[in-house]
């Protein structure tokens, strides 16, 4: 399969590989996909008090396109507010990486990973503020 230059670049020099402590309240973790389908992405975002994503990390089990898609979104979400990050569409990812039709699912998974990470962060904030009120 012929990969685009951008996919190869992200595959060979993946950005932001790694993990944050998922127990931290300012971290949102999204784990999407399934081993049986051949793709699993873990995307983590670190969010500051202003609701801006100041850092992101990923780990991916999958083909070159899956690795490139997740690497790319770690770059894209940085500096964005949660609302802005939630607006990233798989079509933009697929277009940027010139993914062939059979690899579109990789970009869909990356979009799902962002949403899952944001959701996780918001759920944590909600439960933290709830706990806070009880304590107060």
């Amino acid at each position: 399969m012929a990969y685009s230059k951008k996919v190869i670049d992200h595959y060979e020099k993946p950005r932001n590989v790694g993990s944050f402590d998922k127990e931290e309240t300012n971290i949102g973790t999204g784990l999407v996909g399934a081993p049986a389908c051949g793709d699993v992405m873990k995307l983590q975002i670190k969010v500051n008090d202003q609701g801006v994503i100041e850092d992101a990390k990923f780990k991916t089990f999958g083909c070159g396109s899956a690795i490139a898609s997740s690497s790319l979104v770690t770059e894209w979400v940085k500096g964005k507010t949660l609302e802005q990050a939630a607006c990233i569409r798989n079509t933009e990812i697929a277009h940027h990486l010139a993914l062939p039709p059979v690899k579109i699912h990789c970009s869909i998974l990356a979009e799902d990973a962002i949403k899952a990470a944001i959701e996780d962060y918001r759920a944590k904030q909600a439960s933290a503020s709830l706990t806070g009120k009880v304590v107060a």
């Binding site: 990969y3 595959y11 993946p14 996909g33 780990k59 899956a66 690795i67 059979v102």
Partner: protein, 406 residues
């Protein structure tokens, strides 16, 4: 021997420089000695191969058949189609049940599906975890209406050798024809159509260092196997396969079989050592590497391994200087991993991590050592990047997670 005659062989015959070819079950390069034999037939000698007995005879030797039992075809795909459909159509008024196996090559399975649509009954035998069929299951599947058993000699993905002698014995005892797709077996294991009671046997040219576009089918004369021809025409090849044969290709296949036969013993030993060198080199440096298919009943040239927590296609991209195949079907629209590995009961997640290494005539020890380094490097890098590897290291049971299938 061939390497001393052609010192630059692997560089010149195979692909771009620096590329290491380890995909000998996919196809093999034409041996220069075969090409040399073929060349005169493209120009000077333009005789008709139907009137020359040589290539038929060389072919026959490798499977211990009679030269009159060999029919040239365009390849193993055509041979398999001919054997299964040709026999089915001829005997359809007497018997309409055919037995094959779930790990057969697509051309066998698709021929069977076609017959099924036309009213034949099929039994697709399962395989055991080692990739071999169970003989009792075969015996139990045979009924009074069973016409043909078609079981491959050597599997193309996992290299396992089916118990041909035992299958042949059961078939002969029950009065059922036995066809075997031997595309991956010729020149790799000893074949004897009489001892093994094989009635039909398919051969491929490009899997035995011969040219592409040529193959053969052995059709037993005593007791005679009859079949309907799938092509109509001048009645060449005993009326079973009309059409003028490509003389240079027939000569090439004959020579390729002769060479494979002569060198089988020494080559098997050499290739087995390379196989063990590769297996040991990888498993000593990497944990969680699993062999797919029986460890003993397999051809020396095949090593099919699952590298847990690393997806196969992603791994292939990391070892792009090595030509190998993956059981992961990430490129296919179905996203289904190899049906062969699934039939063995290999879990889908492990099937996605499999790589097939094919070692062959032109593989060197140096190439194996380079391959080990490259694979180890890529697997280590990708495991560091794999969320599954991270979870496994943390002691999380991946099966305890509710994965959302997509």
């Amino acid at each position: 021997m061939v390497r001393s005659m052609f010192p630059n062989l692997h560089a010149s015959v195979l692909m771009p420089a620096e590329q290491i070819y380890l995909d000998y079950q996919a196809t093999t390069p034409c041996d220069p000695r075969v090409l040399e034999k073929m060349l005169p037939y493209f120009s000077g000698i333009f005789g008709n191969p139907h009137s020359r007995n040589h290539p038929h005879g060389w072919m026959a030797d490798v499977i211990k058949a009679d030269e009159r039992e060999i029919i040239f075809t365009s390849g193993a795909t055509e041979s398999n189609n001919m054997a299964i459909k040709g026999v089915a159509y001829f005997y359809q008024n007497q018997k309409k049940h055919i037995i094959t196996c779930v790990t057969e090559h697509k051309c066998v399975l698709d021929s069977c599906r076609r017959l099924e649509q036309q009213g034949f009954q099929m039994t697709y035998l399962p395989v055991q975890a080692n990739g071999l069929i169970d003989l009792q299951t075969l015996r139990d599947a045979i009924t009074d209406s069973t016409l043909l058993v078609s079981i491959m000699a050597v599997n193309n993905e996992i290299g396992v050798i089916q118990p041909l002698y035992e299958i042949g014995k059961i078939c002969r005892e029950k009065g059922v024809f036995f066809h075997t797709d031997a595309a991956q077996a010729v020149g790799k294991i000893a074949l004897d159509v009489n001892e093994m009671n094989i009635d039909l046997l398919s051969i491929s040219g490009h899997k035995v260092y011969g040219p592409k576009g040529i193959g053969a089918l052995f059709v037993r004369r005593k007791p005679r196997v009859r079949m309907n021809a799938l092509t109509s025409g001048g009645g060449q090849e005993r009326g079973m396969r009309s059409g003028t044969l490509p003389t240079p290709l027939c000569v090439g296949l004959g020579e390729a079989c002769a060479l494979a036969f002569q060198e089988m013993a020494t080559e098997s030993e050499r290739i087995y050592k390379l196989n063990q060198r590769l297996y040991n080199g990888l498993t000593q440096r990497l944990s969680h590497v699993y062999l797919n298919g029986d460890a003993v009943h397999r051809i020396p040239g095949n090593l099919n391994l699952s590298f847990a927590y690393v997806e196969g296609e992603g791994l292939m991209m990391g070892i792009k200087d090595l030509s190998v195949s993956s059981g992961s079907a990430c490129t296919s629209s179905s996203l289904e991993p190899s049906y062969v590995l699934r039939a063995l009961g290999v879990e889908e997640e492990l099937a996605h991590t499999s790589i097939r290494f094919g070692i062959g005539r032109f593989t060197t020890k140096e190439e194996i050592d380079i391959a080990i380094d490259k694979v180890v490097g890529a697997v280590e890098r990708l495991r560091e990047m794999s969320p599954l590897w991270e979870m496994a290291q943390e002691g999380i049971d991946l099966k305890s997670i509710q994965w959302a299938a997509h």
